[in-house]
Amino acid sequence: MLEEPFATGHSQIHCLDPRLKVLFAIVYSFVVALSDRFPSLFAALGLSFLLIGLARLNIREVAKRVIVVNGLILLFWLLLPLTFEGVALFYVGPFAVTREGLLISARITLKSNAILLAFVALIASTSIATLGHALNRLHIPEKMVHLLLLTYRYVFVIEQEYQRLVRATRIRGFRSRSNMHTYRTYAYLIGMLFVRASERAERVHQAMVCRGFKGKFYCLREFSFSGLDFVWSALMALAVIGLGIVEWT
């Protein structure tokens, strides 16, 4: 049920050094989030589409993500033009639709989509395990990285546990409605999830101690920075500088 549909592939972007992808995604996301002018926002959206194209991802899966995020943005389009103070463009009933409100909704739409698409192309195109190793090499605190990797590892186990509990309730004829019985069932199910999880945690810890765990994890993965990575880092730096020039001069 939990999948990483973009993580495998053979495009140029999939072959890049994950450290480079992480760094560029962080810088790029912040530059776009802080931009306000339309030329730079449109340029960013174009760049993000270019990245998606270069990563050759499953378009249907990408569209699914884009739709969820834009469903949220639709709420902004419904609320902001009516609630923002500014020059009224036209009236819907008693409410004034303001120019400022429309502009900020448009900005949010462009930014959100540009950042989302870049994230899909750069970060989701890396498997989470690889990403953890890359974060370790980027000097994110070790405990944090190991918490991330272990959580990733157990998410699948817990999800199966959850599906099992759900199946058990279904067999007993449980139907989800808005009543106290439903809430009690969910609450007990979640409680059971925590109980099973903590028992499992105890076992995992014992197994780790048995195998000689000494309170430190080691990351064995080495990354190499190839010629292709140099070319790409130059291009990425140019893209960021270009966006900066369009936005801040």
Binding site: I104, T151, S176, R184, A187, F194
Partner: protein
């Protein structure tokens, strides 16, 4: 449980700010606060307890994808109150990890808002741990009140923080902020009910998980079985 998968939909917007909405200062302060909270949480979490914290954040990640019906619609559980009660300061790293995984699996949320969203969920969680954690082992009515308040208050406070983040970005967001807080009111009640029932269940089944049980204190003091 309605046969749909665990993929999030628009209702996941509860306590969640999208990318590209907030201003630079708000994003940066969110990151700074999240970094401080996470550092404290990690410091209190020695390596021996990492599997425990990881498995709890994995369950938090899965449980928060459950749809619960409310009238004609349904909401996603947030469960930050119960995570706070179970993990104390460990809620910061646990929630940060769960949000990161949400971004990685579903591309829901992203890099720039990770800090703000973590603080909006984890800070109320830690507060609830201190405010209500002690009440859970008292007699039934106090425990019931404490656990309901824990679930409801953590959602309410989170909604207020989301509202404030929007308001500090742009004063014109005020009306939207108040709408967001209002939209959380039904979620608050549901979370309160679920948390109260869940805590009652844990008290019966495995009280060692709850803070303050026979002198043990959540994640702060490792509760190794003898």
């Amino acid at each position: 449980m309605q046969g749909r998968g665990l993929f999030p939909d628009e209702s996941t917007f509860y306590m969640h700010i999208s990318e590209g909405v907030l201003s630079g200062p708000v994003l940066v302060s969110g990151m700074a606060l999240a970094a401080v909270g996470t550092a404290i949480g990690l410091k209190k979490l020695d390596y021996d307890r990492i599997p425990q914290a990881a498995i709890l954040s994995a369950s938090f990640f899965v449980a928060s994808l459950i749809h619960v019906p409310v009238g004609p619609s349904s909401v996603h559980l947030i469960l930050n109150g119960i995570v706070g009660v179970l993990l104390g300061w460990g809620a910061f790293p646990a929630i940060l990890v769960a949000l990161t995984l949400q971004a990685l699996f579903f591309q829901f949320g992203g890099i720039t808002t990770l800090g703000v969203n973590t603080v909006a969920m984890a800070l109320p969680a830690v507060l609830c741990y201190y405010l209500f954690g002690r009440m859970l082992h008292k007699n039934n009515s106090i425990a019931l009140f404490g656990s309901f308040a824990c679930g409801a208050f953590s959602v309410f406070l989170g909604a207020i923080m989301v509202g404030l983040a929007l308001f500090f970005t742009e004063e014109n967001f005020f009306k939207v902020s108040s709408l967001i807080v209002m939209a959380h009111l039904p979620v608050m009640v549901i979370e309160g009910i679920i948390t109260a029932l869940c805590v009652a269940f844990l008290k019966k089944v495995q009280p060692t998980l709850l803070p303050g049980y026979s002198g043990e204190n959540g994640m702060d003091k490792p509760g190794k079985s003898p």
